[in-house]
């Protein structure tokens, strides 16, 4: 029987776990899986993309990413109810994270796998911008299904989610700074020699307030609150959109016209928000960089970092939109999820670096202890551990890939009825669709990926916004009848106004 010294037991346990675990998530290439799925969507094969999604996730214990990607694919098929149900499963998982985040704010090492192997073994909680986009996408689905009250609930959830993320990240920054100072670890991404720092340091990325708040989410909040006749909540929605993306005329018009728009709308016109989602969110790959670390005399150690790859070829930017073959109107890109992903990664680099250093410290200490042993088998385990450490050192490639890369908007006031919407992208390709417009406010969404265009068909049922009562109009009186009839959209005012209207009719 092989007798082991106490000093070799712990390193051997770590070696065992390191050698045994690679079969699981530690070795999964999410980028490889989703590249095929996104390719299928770009070719118009949504059903095949959904099949592939199921094949890649045969595990019954589906994680957050499974629900996020599947919900998006179902939405592209215009299966709003199925998409909502799937995304609500994702939302439950995000909600669990939120509840934990309130308690363990600033926990930088919350999973033993992250210490022993790599960040892929951590439970996937979603990037911050993905958590926010989940409620925004859910709100879009509810709006397209005609459930404006449910959309309002999701939008309110977005505000609360942003507040939790802000508080959690502030605590995490404090914790990482404190731990880094104690261990003498530099966590500035600008000191990563060999990493394409320029990708995270562009003006577009630096100008963002943070990696999770989007101008689109807040503009949408403004639009929904306005539609539901809640101007006191619509105003901060438009205002925050302007703060997140300054100097954008369309966003400024949203706030400036808030008081005027409701009175301008009549019973036969609709305030239409057109949302154009383009491309796919950037992919993550792993790049390993040698980092000099003075902590525990580690020397120069290899640490893996995620590297973002944008997909400009398939992100043909929407150029203009025309209604009923009218004069084309430029659309405005207001949220780049590509830039937000980069900003989120940039903000996360200090935490990734610190986890990498702590992981290297544990692995190196175990390896050294095994190599010092007189037992040949234990030494062999030390060599095997060294090999596996190199193989398993890989950055987390997981991210919500079927999200769009860019979100653009345009806003119109249109007569109620069928209209032909035409979107032209920067490659000169035009896609048209006949869409029925109804109600006081309506939302039309379209997704472009490669040469494919996926149009939504809004459903007008459920809880539609009601037209704001306009006392100055729509009061009809019936001559010969002592009673007064009011049209459904109309409102009443005082006796005086009724009398005035009566006189008008008699003329």
């Amino acid at each position: 029987m092989l007798l082991l010294s106490r000093t070799a037991t712990i390193p051997l346990t770590i070696a065992f776990l390191t050698l045994a675990l690679p079969g699981c998530s530690a070795m999964r290439s999410y980028d490889g899986e989703l590249r095929q799925t996104v390719d299928l969507v770009a070719q118009g094969n949504i059903d095949q993309a959904l099949q592939l999604q199921e094949q890649n996730n045969t595990n019954h214990d589906n994680d957050l990413l499974y629900f996020l990607e599947k919900g998006e694919l179902l939405r592209l098929k215009n299966q709003y109810n199925d998409s909502v149900a799937t995304w609500l499963s994702a939302d439950t998982l995000v909600n669990e994270w939120e509840n934990e985040a309130k308690i363990r704010g600033g926990a930088i090492l919350d999973n033993i796998g992250a210490i022993l192997l790599n960040d892929k073994t951590r439970r996937y909680d979603g990037h911050d911008y993905e958590k926010v986009m989940l409620s925004t996408q859910l709100a879009l689905n509810h709006l397209l299904s005609g459930h404006w009250d449910l959309a309002r609930t999701e939008i309110k959830k977005t505000h609360e989610r942003e507040a939790i993320i802000a508080q959690y990240r502030a605590q995490e920054i404090d914790a990482v700074e404190k731990e880094s100072r104690q261990k003498g670890v530099s966590t500035s991404f600008k000191e990563l020699n060999g990493y394409p720092v320029a990708t995270l340091d562009s003006l577009e990325v630096s100008e963002l307030k943070n990696g999770y708040q989007s101008a689109f989410s807040h503009y949408l909040a403004g639009f929904v609150y306005e539609a539901l006749n809640e101007p006191s909540l619509a105003a901060p929605g438009y205002r925050q959109a302007i703060e997140l993306r300054p100097n954008t005329q369309l966003l400024e018009d949203g706030l400036a016209g808030l008081d005027r728009r409701n009175s301008d709308l009549n019973a036969n016109t609709t305030d239409v928000l057109l949302v154009i989602e383009s491309g796919a969110a950037p992919a993550l790959s792993s790049v390993t960089i040698p980092i000099p670390v003075f902590y525990n005399n580690l020397g120069v150690i290899p640490i893996s970092f995620p590297l973002l790859h944008s997909d400009p070829i398939r992100t043909a930017l929407p150029h203009s939109v025309s209604i009923d073959a009218g004069i084309p109107q430029n659309v405005v890109g207001i949220t780049s999820l590509d830039a937000m992903a980069k900003r989120a990664l940039r903000d996360d680099i200090p935490s990734i670096m610190l986890r990498g250093v702590l992981r290297a410290a544990v692995k190196t200490a175990s390896q050294r202890a095994l190599m010092r042993s007189d037992n040949g088998y234990v030494k062999l385990a030390g060599i095997a551990l060294n090999v596996m450490n190199v193989i398993t050192e890989s950055a987390d490639e997981r991210s919500w890939r079927t999200l769009p890369s860019l979100i653009s908007i345009a806003r119109f006031t249109l007569p109620v009825g069928k209209h032909t919407f035409s979107v032209m992208n920067s490659n000169g390709i035009t896609s048209s669709e006949s869409i029925n417009i109804d109600g006081s406010h309506a939302l039309v969404a379209v997704r472009t990926l490669g040469d494919q265009t996926y149009w939504s068909q809004p459903i007008y049922s459920g809880q539609m916004p009601v037209r704001v009562a306009q006392p100055s109009q729509k009061i009809e009186t019936l001559d010969g009848d002592k009673s007064t009839r009011i049209t459904p959209q109309a409102s009443l005012n005082t006796q005086t106004r009724k009398n005035k209207t009566k006189k008008k009719v008699k003329k």
Partner: protein, 204 residues
Amino acid sequence: MTNIISKSTAIIALSTTVLLIGCANQTPNLQSGNVAYGDSQAVETLTNEFGSTDLQSIAQSMSNSLLQSPVLRATARPLVTVADVKNHTSEYIDTKAITDTIRAKMLKSGLVRFAVDTSAMKNQTDELIRQNSGLYKKSQSKKLGQMEGADFRIEGSITSIVKRADDVKDIYYKLSLQLINNESGVIEWADEKEIRKTSNQSMF
């Protein structure tokens, strides 16, 4: 032997008790230990954003001030309506929640009456339409053209100034309300409520 018997008796008695307890119709356990009710009036300082304490203190201060205004006391139960309280902040503050609380406090005093505001007008007209649709007895239907116009309207705005320096965030809120005579356009009453909140970095 006696000892063994007494032990067996005790075990049988215990088993029977356990079985009977199991069969009994028990009240379900409704407590997880993780949820607790709190005092809705307690001072809340969880975050530096506009919260329940701010809403309550603004509503209390404004309703007291309004009820003491000479113009409302000069008329017997004047009719008031609530117009828009504009939100000039970047925070999602539901100003209707503030005015609803003010209205409830004023109504409880019995000194004033309130007419439906614009947000409730749709429901009001829908109800009148239904009652005059021919489905109801004409004698019992509420007649059109009988709504009362409000003597006064309450309107106002909420603004904020946010400043950050090093680790400190300072937020200053100001809610301004006015009572306007609907016929003459005269501002009969006005008041302001200010709130200042300061927090360190971990809170924002």
